[in-house]
Symmetry: C2
DNA sequence: TTGCTTACTTACTTACAAGTAAGTAATTTT
DNA sequence: AAAATTACTTACTTGTAAGTAAGTAAGCAA
């Protein structure tokens, strides 16, 4: 029955990405899973513990997925990142960072630190990918790779947020233009 | 005593931009203003009514401010937009769009519509500014002006969110690179 | 000067979020 | 076979969010 725990995390993950951390309650999880709210407290004593688990799983998933792609050319690797966001957009979700960052100040320190280190992990990977890709002539951009990674991440993150408000075609318009700008050709 | 109403809106605006819509309560307003929560309900029967007022004021402020700048060259106009965001960053706030969009699905339709039309107003203005600026040779960018406005808005919005999580120097790194990219020179 | 409106307060209610204490059935360990 | 552990449920408690009904003091209007 260990998969109750995984189902709780998975539903919490969904709820955060669709409605936001401060807008979901244990009832939103216990009802669909047909368990009692105390069962959630058994696995995750506090909501913060659950939030931490969601962030940890997200980072793990990102780490294993990107590790699998490490041998591929950097433009393919970056495409994986865009595809991940595109999938979220189709599902009506925003990314975990986009959902958690506005609520950051309401979090206890332990959760804030998790969010910050998740953000670092994403940015470091993206910066590395862009840097190596530029060296190989796969990308063309000015300035520091880390600064460019900040721009790319912020565009991806915000494109999901704007899509939610302005309709989901917005996502493609932003990412297409973003990819064109990075493209080495011409 | 009409300014109680204005103080309520102003505090709600701050609370949304620092802690998020679903994380503040009438008590967070009534305590510092030294009034009773029922006094807020007198002016704003529901929390939705208060949210709508906050959005309306934001759009009004934007409209009057940009109208004042209409005669200036477009690069100065765009600088005003960046300065506005820079000010929020210094105050530890995110923008209203960045705060409200993740919670969008938890809003009743009337508030959703307000958020969407606020977003439209910002994007339309930015697209117009970029388009005219490009024609005059003040900006240099590829593609549709509206698509470019989407990129600029998404970078500004997300730079405040990322700054919150990664430290507020992030804002300058993103916006500097963004302005360099748009700059017509070289 | 009576009545109406404005801007509140007092004192509730209802609902629900978060968490806990104690118990239990099923499995695993010793 | 007894003891401990796992994965829960039952049945609470505490706190707070959102909203409301009824009252009131001050100002103005006829």
């Amino acid at each position: 029955m260990q998969d109750t725990k995984e189902r709780i995390i998975s539903l919490a993950d969904q709820l955060i990405k669709t409605r936001g951390y401060n807008a979901f309650s244990y009832k939103d999880i216990s009802d669909p899973l047909e368990i009692k709210n105390a069962a959630i407290h058994y696995h995750f004593p506090t909501k913060t513990d659950l939030g931490i688990a969601v962030v940890d799983i997200e980072v793990e998933r990102f780490t294993t997925q990107t590790a699998k792609l490490a041998a591929q050319p950097e433009d393919k690797q970056l495409k994986f990142l865009f595809d991940t966001f595109n999938k979220k957009n189709k599902e009506g979700m925003v990314c975990l960072m986009g959902s958690l960052s506005p609520d950051y100040e309401t979090f206890p320190t332990v959760l804030q630190e998790k969010v910050t280190s998740m953000s670092s992990a994403f940015l470091d990977w993206t910066a590395g990918c862009l840097e190596r890709g530029r060296e190989k002539g796969l990308f063309r951009f000015d300035g520091d790779a880390y600064d460019r990674a900040l721009l790319v991440m912020s565009n991806l993150l915000a494109s999901l947020l704007l899509s939610r408000v302005m309709g989901n075609k917005i996502f493609g318009r932003i990412t297409n233009q973003l990819l064109k700008d990075l493209n080495a050709k011409k």
